[in-house]
């Protein structure tokens, strides 16, 4: 970063998207941290007061700014990072517009103290509302500190737009976290009102992710997809998930971006593994030829445009999906009592929990299922180049689950759980979740087959049609999904104002009242949403209603049949809501639990 700062020629400056760079404190924090990263810092320390509204301090140990260039740094379109329009296409640094510092300085009180490593001393530049108040020698270890006070003090209109201090503060912290994830080798700390809210050690992505996502995040699954479009990162286990999408960080060429399609690509990989309305989190990093990315879409660089988005989408989805397939099934809340130390039940009188770890050979026995393959990838990809076929997937999944086959039922507890035996150990089964997943997979598979073969899906025809009153809006919303529902075995049609006639239901749902089912389907229909997601949701709901209830008694033949079907169900280790269908208590875990020597 020893390139001197120069004013960009006007045409270059014009080529850069205009607009406000700093619209809220979080944006200032992000820009300042990015500058630190561009300066090659190995440590970045952020200090926030009142969410950044009162004070933001970002200190780094980077290349620094020579004293004679400090004034230029706060000038508009002054950058050391880019000189020609051609350079713009190959942007690798985070900053390139020469705009951020100037924009921040224009609306706040800024003190920059900086000392390049080679220099004797530091220089300080103090400006307020863009006007330089002071420029003098100062003392500082090599690196740069930018202190921003009274942000937006001179732009009350902007101030009025800000949300609560708390949400500004969390947005600012998130901005730091995002950068920590994209630059795991750099150590970050972030304090908010003197409280340490983030400390990433600066090292591996795993450590950084653990710092960012917290301990409750469980184990993160490593994603690795080498190639021209390389995908890497760490994503959440299906058993931990969040209520919003903000925990999923998409990085393209080390730049945190907001790209809806790629978020969908990751979520698609979790299809059928997460509860409806829940989202995975983690960081997914895409590395590709910078020529394929247009970062200059939005002044805050938040959104990027991808050339060949379909290919990137497929690459991301495939990589995440494979990672989920490889990862093992570690079970939530299942922990073996710690027999050596204090038993957990001694502490709070709580039930001892069981934990499943590794199989006899030190290899994981519990495996994550494979999400059901959806048409989504193919659709997103123009239909041709989907790299995984249904067949491949089914086979892989079958093989994994087959580790538990033959699954022999032993008993059903009074609460309804099934106790079974497998070659891998004792297995506890949630009959509802298991049946639900079987039916879900069957509904989707039958629908796919019907489409492929150009025929109607298998369904129980009604002797007495059911006319459901759903109101005009209901008819409207349902009819958007008639085709999807037909693929699942429903036969629905508008039938007079506010009425829908149902003349067939999925065979698996024959014992249900069609009227109630149709109403529930309508209630669960997400507003809008893409077709594959709607289809999965409707299939999941139908399966849930049709599946045996947890308390229902199953005779031994029914139990056997259920288990036989489960072991051949793709993704059968979790229900469509992402809960486990089976818990495997292998010999080693049990021996450990009973305090017997493990063989």
């Amino acid at each position: 970063m020893t390139t001197p700062i120069r004013l960009l020629p006007p045409q270059v400056a014009d080529a850069i998207a205009a607009g406000e760079v700093v619209e809220r404190p979080a944006a200032a924090v992000k820009e300042l941290c990015e500058n630190a990263l561009d300066a090659g810092a190995t440590r970045v320390d952020v200090d926030l007061e009142a969410g950044g509204l009162v004070r933001i301090v970002v200190a780094d140990d980077g290349a620094g700014i020579p004293g004679d260039q400090l004034q230029l740094a706060v000038a508009r379109h002054a950058t050391s990072k880019l000189e020609t329009v051609g350079d713009l296409a190959r942007v690798r640094s985070l900053g390139f517009r020469g705009e951020a510092l100037a924009s921040i300085a224009a609306v706040s009180d800024v003190r920059i103290t900086s000392r390049p490593p080679g220099e004797e001393g530091a220089w300080l530049l103090h400006s307020r509302a863009g006007e330089v108040l002071e420029h003098r020698a100062a003392a500082r270890a090599p690196g740069t500190t930018v202190e921003v006070c009274d942000l937006f003090h001179n732009t009350p209109a902007r101030l009025a737009f800000l949300r609560s201090e708390r949400s500004e503060s969390s947005a600012a912290v998130r901005a730091v976290s995002d950068l920590a994830l994209t630059h795991p080798e750099v150590g970050f700390t972030c304090r908010s009102d003197d409280r340490l809210v983030l400390r990433s050690p600066g090292g591996s992505l795993i450590d950084t992710a653990a710092a960012v996502f917290g301990r409750d995040a469980g184990e993160l699954i490593a994603v690795e997809g080498p190639g021209e479009i390389a995908v890497s990162g760490l994503i959440s286990e299906p058993r931990s998930h969040r209520g919003s999408r903000t925990g999923l960080v998409i990085v393209i060429n080390r730049r945190r971006v907001h790209n809806r399609a790629l978020v969908v690509a990751v979520e698609e990989a979790y299809a059928g593994l997460l509860p409806v309305g829940r989202h995975p989190f983690g960081v997914v990093e895409v590395t590709l030829d910078p020529a394929m990315v247009d970062v200059n879409v939005h002044p805050t660089k938040r959104e990027v445009r991808l050339r060949e988005e379909g290919r990137v989408f497929t690459a991301v989805q495939h990589a995440c999906w494979s990672a989920l397939q490889e990862a093992r099934l570690s079970l939530a809340g299942v922990r073996l009592p710690q027999l050596g130390g204090g038993a957990p039940d001694a502490a709070g009188g709580a039930e001892p929990e069981l934990e499943l770890r590794e199989g006899p050979a030190g290899r994981p026995v519990e495996l994550w299922p494979h999400p059901l393959r959806e048409a989504a990838v193919r659709e997103a990809d123009g239909g041709e180049s989907a790299s995984i076929t249904d067949r491949e997937q089914a086979e892989t999944a079958g093989h994994r689950l087959a580790d538990l086959a033959p699954l022999r039922p032993l008993a059903q507890t009074s609460e309804g759980w099934l106790v079974a035996e497998s070659p891998r150990g004792m297995v506890l089964v949630d009959p509802h979740a298991a049946h639900e997943k079987i039916l879900y997979a069957e509904l989707l598979a039958e629908g796919d087959a019907a489409i492929r073969e150009g025929r109607a899906a298998t369904s129980q025809l009604l002797l007495v049609d059911s006319v459901v009153s759903v109101g005009a809006a209901g008819v409207e919303r349902l009819s958007e999904s008639f085709a999807i529902l037909a693929g699942l075995g429903f036969q629905l049609e508008p039938f007079g104002p506010g009425l829908v006639r149902c003349s067939a239901v999925p065979a698996a749902a024959a014992h249900l009242d069609p009227e109630r089912l149709v109403r529930d389907l309508l209630d669960s229909l997400p507003a809008g949403g893409d077709a594959p997601a709607r289809r999965r949701r409707l299939a999941a709901l139908t399966a849930c209603h049709a599946a045996v209830r947890l308390g229902a008694r199953l005779d031994p033949r029914e139990q056997l049949r259920l288990l036989e079907r489960l072991v051949v169900t793709p993704g059968g280790l979790t229900c469509p809501h992402g809960r486990p269908t089976v818990i495997v208590l292998d010999a080693r875990s049990l021996r450990r639990a009973f305090g017997r020597p493990t063989v």
Binding site: Q460, L463, H511, R561
Partner: protein
């Protein structure tokens, strides 16, 4: 439990002697009307009241009321309610020696003495027991109990278990002259049974009511050779039905609403008729339907060339393939049914031979006993590839 107050000043409100086994068998039928979890404590109780001929035992959940008269020697008249389950369990445990039951009016405590064994049960004053639906009129018609019992089993199976559409959880009772028709459907299948009714009143008897299938099940349970006839009466308000048996009366609320026009869905003709041994078909269908709840794997029937073939395809258990000798008239056909529906229908029909009237893969089929038109079951196929 408190101790029974001693001394002669105690006034007894009910006193009788009764055979524990007679009381026990009535209690087991009556307590079926007790709601398992009721917010009203008295509804967990049975009402005991003396009558000239003995002791009347009654339980109700407000929808269903069952009462039975137990032969007893009444020593003192009175009424009381006591916890149904406790009483039933205790009485069932007693030896077959006549026991004495007496109630202390002040404490509403029921003391049961059987030989040297004594127990006290806390009662609730009978005035708290809800008023029971009163039968204003004598039964309008009567049917043979065993025939009704069979009719109920044959039809109730086709009623819907889902409360969403209440009328379908019931069995339609239609009386027209000397014919009683029972109908049930869950939208996928329809069962229709006709039996003879003996009209007891003057004039023409005609009417239609819907009785909860569950309540008819309780009626069927009460039928045995000691109760050979069942009388049927309706309340004047037409919201209750009363079934009278020798020593029992069962009354049920009626389900209000419009029943689907069932005659319309019974196909008048068929394109294929298959006649074959019911036992063989039943055995084969049972094998084909391994998991009864597993509706997603229907049983396929292929009729043609003097045989009926049953196919149950499921990748997991392999194919089950069973050609059965059959008399097939009409077009060759392949049609699939939910295995449960087919089994239920076959189990419900009488006779040696079953007759299947098929109408192609997408139209309703009729299952009946060959040569019998008192019972039929209409089944809608599963559309399969």
């Amino acid at each position: 439990m408190n101790n029974w107050p001693s001394g002669t000043s105690t006034h007894t409100a009910l006193r009788c002697t009764v055979s524990p086994s007679a009381l026990s068998s009535s209690l087991s039928l009556v307590s079926r009307a007790v709601s398992p979890r009721s917010t009203l404590p008295v509804l967990s109780n049975v009402l005991l009241e003396t009558e000239a001929e003995g002791l009347r035992v009654t339980a109700t959940n407000l929808d269903l009321t069952i009462s039975a008269l137990v032969a007893a020697t009444v020593l003192e008249e009175g009424r009381v309610t006591v916890p149904a389950r406790l009483l039933a369990e205790y009485v069932a445990s007693l030896d077959e020696t006549t026991c004495t039951m007496e109630v202390d009016e002040r404490t509403q405590m029921l003391r049961i003495t059987s030989g040297v064994q004594k127990t006290n049960l806390h009662g609730i004053d009978a005035v708290e027991f809800p008023p029971l639906p009163a039968r204003e009129t004598a039964p309008a018609f009567e049917v043979d109990a065993a025939a009704l019992q069979q009719a109920i089993t044959q039809t109730a199976v086709a009623a819907s278990g889902d409360e969403q559409t209440p009328v379908l959880t019931g069995v339609l009772l239609h009386v027209e002259g000397s014919e009683l028709t029972l109908v049930a459907t869950d939208r996928h299948r329809l069962a229709v049974k006709k039996l003879e009714a003996q009209v007891l009143t003057e004039g023409v008897v005609s009417g239609t009511v819907i009785v909860p299938a569950r309540h008819l099940g309780e009626l069927a349970r009460a039928i045995n050779p000691t109760r050979p006839r069942v009388g049927v009466a309706f309340s004047d308000a037409r919201n209750q039905v009363f079934f009278t048996l020798r020593d029992m009366e069962i009354s049920s609320r009626l389900i209000e609403g419009n029943y689907p026009n069932y005659t319309q869905v019974i196909p008048a003709h068929s394109t294929t008729t298959v006649v074959l041994s019911k036992e063989l078909l039943l055995k084969s269908a049972k094998t084909a339907a391994v998991l009864a709840r597993d509706a997603s794997n229907p049983v396929r029937l292929r009729a043609g060339k003097g045989e009926l073939e049953l196919l149950a395809q499921s990748a997991e258990v392999g194919d089950h393939d069973a050609p059965l000798p059959a008399k097939v008239d009409g077009e060759d056909v392949q049609v699939a049914f939910n295995a449960r529906y087919l089994l239920d229908a076959l189990q419900a029909i009488d006779g040696e031979d079953a007759e299947l009237s098929l109408n192609g893969p997408l139209q309703p089929a009729v299952v009946r006993a060959l040569g019998r038109d008192d019972y039929l079951c209409v089944i809608m196929p599963v559309r399969v590839p």
